[in-house]
C-alpha cells in the first residue's frame, strides 16, 4: 500500500554520517554555528530573564535551534519567513536587534517591527494561521515575477488546524514558491503527535496536496539546511511548494508557564538533552577541525554580549505612551479616537477619591 510520502519515513541525516554538504565551506559552516549559538543564548538568557521578572511568559525553543538556523541559512535575504511563536527570535538571524524580540516578550509595543524591513512576518500566536499568509505572499511574489520565495514554520500540532490545510492547499494549487516547514517536536503542549494524526508520519500530508515532502532529522542542522536548500531551488525554478517535516523532540517545557512533568517521560527528555542539536553540531565541527576552544569561546562571548546589550537597551526603553493604544489600529483612524484618547489622558492624569 502506497501510504507514505516519497522517500518514505527515513530521516535524512548529515552529521551522524559525517557527510559534507555541497557548497558549504568552513566559513558557512561557522556562520551556521554562530546562528545556533546566538539562538541558544537568546533562549537560555530569556528563561533567566523570565525568572527574574524582566520578561513575561516565554515560549522556550531550546533544541529547536538546528531547525531554525538550518532553514533560514538556506534562504536569501529577499525570501520571506513566517514564524510561529516558537521562532520568536528568528529575526536575530536577519539582523533584528535582540531588544526588539525582548520587547515583544516584555509586552512592550517596541516589540513591533515592519515585516518588510527584514522580510519577516510578525510572530504568529494563533496556531497555523500564518500558513495562508505565507502561501499568499509566495503566490504574490510569483505573480510579480520576483525571485523571492517564502518559508513558514509551524508545529506538529498545527497540522490539525483547518488553517494549515487551506494554506497548504492554496500553495499547491497556485504552485506558490513556499516551503512548509513543520517543526515536529512531537508535542503540542501536552498532546503527543500520536493524538494529532493517524498518519505514520506528518510528511505523508504532502501527498494530499500533490507536493513533494521530505523528512529530516531536525536535530541535524546540515540535514535541515540541505533539505531546505533543495526546496528553495525547487521553489525558485517554478516547482512549487515543498513540505519539510523536521523531527526533533521538545526537551524543554512548552513555555515558562508549563510544567511538563505531568505528561512527559522524563527519562526520554534526559536522553534527548544528551543529544541536543547544538552539541551535536559542535562535535561535528570539532571533528572536522573547523572549531577549537578559542573560536568557540569567542562566538559564545559575542552572543552573550549581544544579549547583555539587548536587555540593557530594552530596559532603557521609555514606557509606551498610551497614545499607542489608538495610534496604529487604523492607517486612517476614525475621528472618535481623538476624543477617547483625550478623555483617557484626562482620567489617567487626574486622581480618584
Amino acid at each position: 500500500m502506497a501510504r507514505v510520502a516519497e522517500g518514505g519515513h527515513e530521516l535524512r541525516r548529515v552529521l551522524d554520517e559525517d557527510r559534507e554538504v555541497d557548497g558549504l565551506g568552513e566559513q558557512e559552516l561557522l556562520e551556521l554555528y554562530r546562528s545556533m549559538v546566538l539562538l541558544r543564548t537568546y533562549d537560555e538568557r530569556s528563561v533567566i530573564y523570565h525568572r527574574q521578572g524582566r520578561i513575561g511568559t516565554y515560549a522556550i525553543f531550546w533544541n529547536h535551534e538546528a531547525m531554525q538556523a538550518g532553514a533560514v541559512h538556506a534562504l536569501d535575504d529577499e525570501d520571506w519567513i513566517f514564524p510561529s511563536y516558537r521562532e520568536s527570535a528568528i529575526g536575530l538571524l536577519r539582523g533584528m536587534p535582540a531588544a526588539t524580540v525582548l520587547h515583544w516578550w516584555r509586552g512592550h509595543p517596541a516589540g513591533w517591527w515592519n515585516p518588510s524591513d527584514y522580510n519577516l512576518a510578525s510572530i504568529c500566536v494563533p496556531i497555523a494561521t500564518q500558513v495562508p499568509h505565507a502561501a499568499g505572499l509566495a503566490w504574490g511574489k510569483k505573480l510579480k515575477g520576483e525571485r523571492a520565495c517564502a518559508l513558514t514554520f509551524f508545529g506538529d500540532g498545527a497540522t490539525s488546524e483547518g488553517a494549515f490545510h487551506e494554506g497548504a492547499n492554496f500553495a499547491g494549487v497556485m504552485q506558490a514558491p513556499l516551503i512548509l516547514f513543520c517543526n515536529n517536536n512531537q508535542w503540542a503542549i501536552s498532546t503527543p503527535v500520536s493524538a494529532q494524526t493517524h498518519a505514520e508520519a506528518l510528511v505523508d500530508k504532502a501527498v494530499g496536496y500533490g507536493i513533494p515532502g521530505v523528512r529530516v532529522d531536525g536535530g541535524d542542522v546540515l540535514a535541515v539546511y540541505e533539505a531546505t536548500r533543495e526546496a528553495v531551488e525547487r521553489a525558485r525554478s517554478g516547482g512549487g511548494p515543498t513540505f519539510i517535516e523536521a523531527v526533533t523532540y521538545r526537551a524543554a517545557p512548552h513555555a515558562t508557564a508549563d510544567d511538563p512533568r505531568a505528561y512527559i517521560d522524563l527519562e526520554r527528555v534526559e536522553q534527548e538533552k544528551q543529544n541536543e542539536c547544538l552539541g551535536r553540531y559542535e562535535r561535528y565541527l570539532r571533528r572536522l577541525g573547523a572549531l577549537g576552544d578559542d573560536l568557540d569561546k569567542t562566538i559564545k562571548d559575542e552572543s552573550a554580549e549581544l544579549m547583555r546589550a539587548g536587555i540593557t537597551a530594552a530596559e532603557a526603553e521609555p514606557d509606551a505612551d498610551v497614545g499607542l493604544l489608538f495610534e496604529h489600529a487604523y492607517a486612517n483612524p476614525p475621528a472618535s479616537f481623538q476624543a477617547e484618547l483625550a478623555e483617557l489622558r484626562r482620567i489617567l492624569g487626574g486622581d480618584v477619591g
Binding site: P115, P132, G136, W139, G140, K144, A163, N169, H328, A331
Partner: protein
Amino acid sequence: MADLLMIEAVNDALHVELERDDTVMVMGEDVGRAGGVFRATAGLRERFGADRCVDTPLAEAGILGTAIGLCMAGFRPVTEMQYDAFSYPCLDQLITHVGRYHWRTGGGMEFPLVVRMPYGGGVRAPEMHDDSPETYYVHTPGVKVAIPSTPADAKGLLAAAIRDPDPVVIFEPKLIYRTERSEVPEGDYIVPLGKARLVRAGDDVTLVAYGAMVPLCERAADALADEASVEVLDLRTLKPLDEDGLLASVAKTGRVVIVQEAPRTAGFGAELAAILAEKAMLDLRGPVLRVTGYDVPYPYWKLEDAYMPSVERIVDAVRKLLAF
C-alpha cells in the same frame, strides 16, 4: 451618468479600479470563469486575465488568509465571500489578523484589502443564504464596514474601500441587487467612507437604516405621509460611523426608530441606540425603538416575510413614538 442596477454598479466599480491600479485583484469562489454567482465580477477575467480575477479553491479562511499575504507582496486584493453565511469560516482570519496586522507592525505595513459579500434576506433562498452578519464584522477592531443602499453608493463605497489603506468589509444587500436602479457616475467615482446620506428630510421622526432596509424605510415613510413628517437616514458606513449626522437628525426630530435585519441582541442597532442613550438624552422625546430581525435562526422562506422588518412593523413603531 449611466442607468445601472446595483449589481451592475458593483461590476462597474471593479472594472474601473482594476483598470486604474494594477495591484488591485479580485479573488473568490466562482468569480472568474462564471463571473460570480450574482455576476458581480462578470467580464473581469476576460478583460484582466485569470491572475487578476482568480477562481480560488473553496476555502474562505484560505481566501482571506492568502489575501493578507498578497497585501504583504504589494497587492490590493478584493475578496468575495459567496454569501453572508459562508463568510463565517473567514472570521478567524478577520479577527485575529486582518484587524490586527497593521497595528502589529507598528503602523509599518498596510493591509488595503476588501471583503465584499452579498447579504441579507427576502430572496426566497434555501437555508444559509439570508444572514445579516454585520455585527461580527463591525465589532472587530481594525476593520471598517460599509453597506450601500443605492447603485451609486455601491460603486462609490466599493471604490473608496479599494483605495482605502485599511481593510474594509462591504455588505451588498442582495435583495435589491436587481431592484434598485439609478444614475451612477461613469469612470472614477468615490463615495467617502464615514458620511451618512440624508435620504429624505422630515421633522417628526427619524428612521435610521442601512442596506436593503433603506428603501423599506422609504416605503414606511410614504405609508406614514398623512401622519408624520418622516426623516430617513442611510448610514452608508457603520465604521467609521457618521455620529454627527445621526445626532443632528435626532436633535431635530427627537424621535428615532432604528431598522436592522440582523438578529436583535447586540446588533448594530443596539450600538446606535446606545450612542443616542449617551449623547442625545436631552433631545429625545420618547424611547429609542428598534425594528429588527428576531433572536432566532433566519427562517425557511415561507416564513421570512414575518421575520424581516416590514413596513407594518416600522409604521407601528413610529405610531407608538408619536403617541408617547
